[in-house]
């Protein structure tokens, strides 16, 4: 199993080309390779409010295909909030309002004729605390294909394929009918990943997927992410900087600052190739966060 590494293997040597200035001050660095990479998500001036109060604003970034993009930053700065805009989970959050423009492969994600169910099929999500259904392992993974209308014979194959992709097949292949709740935390999380993969998404969003797991389970999931990257676009939120440094290709650093009215508002500070962000951060706040943690 490939060891989890920083994104150096996939990102070209860092250029000395000056970073491109965005109109609001966030700097975004795109090495030439990205020129041929597809943009999956393009966020412009994204702001999220809860019951009228801004939680995070001025978010401008582009997420490239077949890469791992990490969102890091202190708690309460909007990382998860921004993540959840990508699969329209805020639709079901009471009082949440998403402003700005978010496109998916050039198409407005919040457009009037967009089918939300299709959005979430293509852009899957794995949650912080594993949340398998109280059903058998097989039925958990089969849930997605079933609602998408796949036939019974087809489903067995899809379940196996998804579990293999999630590196869980060998451990559960003899007990597919057993309850998913009997698995360990790490296994349940990989089951949730398999469940998400079973609907053949394009993107997998992960909200602090390892924070409820022990280090060994964490390492397995990080290895899994490296494998998945070849077929899926991954966006992960993590409060563990080492994880971001090890595992991601590109990192976005968020922070929260107190505005004039005395409220904490989150925003994007810096978005760069991971190696560059961690070794030569352009913004002092990024540097402060990184060095503070490294101690």
């Amino acid at each position: 199993m490939p060891e989890a590494r920083s994104g150096t293997a996939t990102v070209a040597p860092v250029l000395t080309r000056p970073p491109a200035e965005q109109h609001d001050g966030t700097r975004e660095v795109l090495p030439p390779e990205l020129g041929e990479r597809q943009i999956v998500f393009d966020l412009s001036d994204v702001e999220v409010r809860y019951h009228g109060v801004t939680a995070v604003q001025n978010v401008n970034l582009r997420i490239a295909a077949r890469e791992i993009t990490a969102f890091i930053g202190p708690s309460g700065c909007g990382k998860t909030t921004v993540l959840r805009t990508l699969n329209r989970m805020h639709d079901i959050t009471p009082g949440a309002e998403v402003r700005g423009r978010i496109t998916y492969h050039g198409e407005d994600l919040y457009g009037p004729r967009v089918d939300v169910a299709e959005v979430r099929r293509r852009i899957g999500m794995v949650f912080q605390k594993p949340n398998p259904f109280p059903k058998s392992i097989h039925d958990n993974v089969a849930y997605g294909p079933r609602i998408n209308g796949h036939k019974r014979g087809d489903i067995g194959d899809r379940v196996e394929h998804a579990l293999q992709r999630a590196a869980l097949w060998d451990e559960v292949k003899d007990k597919l009918r057993q309850s998913a709740l009997g698995l360990s935390g790490g296994q349940q999380q990989r089951l949730c990943i398999a469940r998400a993969l079973a609907v053949e998404p394009d993107v997998v969003l992960m909200d602090e997927p390892c924070s409820a797991l022990d280090p060994i389970a964490t390492a397995r999931i990080e290895d899994l992410m490296q494998e998945l990257k070849s077929d899926y676009t991954l966006v992960i939120v993590t409060h563990n900087m080492q994880q971001a440094a090890r595992a991601s290709d590109r990192t976005a650093f968020f922070t929260a600052e107190v505005d004039d009215a005395g409220r904490r508002v989150g925003h994007l500070v810096e978005f760069d190739a991971t190696e560059h962000l961690f070794t030569q951060p352009s913004d002092p706040r990024t540097e402060g966060y990184i060095t503070g943690r490294f101690g």
Binding site: H105, G106, E107, A117
Partner: protein
Amino acid sequence: MSTVTAPATTSLLQSRPASRGRRLRNHLATGLIIGSMAVTLVPLVFLVIFVVGRGGHVFGWHFLSTDIPILDREMGGGMKAAVVGTLLITGGATAMAVPLGVLGAVYLNEYGKQSRLARFIRFLSEVMTGVPSIVMGLFIYILWTLHFKSFSGFAGSLALACLMLPIVIRTSEEMLRLVPDELREGSYALGSRKVRTIRTVVLPHAAPGVISGALLAVARAAGETAPLLFVIGIVTDTNSNLFHGPSTALSAQIYKNAISPFVGAQDRAYGAALTLILLVFVFTALARVVTTVYARRTTAAV
């Protein structure tokens, strides 16, 4: 800077034809769900409007203070005896059921807790809330009316009290359970004994909820007919003595007049129904007000 966004010749995010059926089922389900609310509101609104409509023109202070005519076919008249009867009989039941119910709830939550006896009592109280009210009426008939060979409002109070008791015990116990243990421990730590703690800390804290539950039980009892029919008899003149002589109540009068072919009796039935609904709705609303004020008070204090 050259970046490529994937050319989207067709929309990626619109429904695939295969999932059109899913969307349809979803919309259908939503429609049915909203429909069930409509279906429920219709009888309620219709009933209230109808009762107000047919009862409104006889209702008024005159109606509440005039005696019931002896003959069904008489027009006009009032329901004074029934109003007095309902108030006295329900009042009597409340005076018995609420203190006993609260004391029983105190036993269950403060003393018995999870002991086998307490769990048994708790279980049976819940089961008893499902016993039909007519059975309570039969019970009091056998135990009291047959024994004393006379009708009285008090017998009706007894029957209603049997009905109210399990309800009051259940709701009061829930409210007592909500009182945080820290409050009790604080009181014990200051040297207070259990009785004092219950009296000065637990009950006051649970009071709004207990009162609210009691009000709902009163509203339920005031509307009951079956338990009263065999034990209170019937009168047209007002009987202000709960313990001697037969009595009547709004619910019983409505029942008696409902099947009458005479318009006069029917009018009075609707007037009584309007009176009863007003009474019941007022108590129900009062219970809700008490709960809301309580909630506001506790969140304000925090």
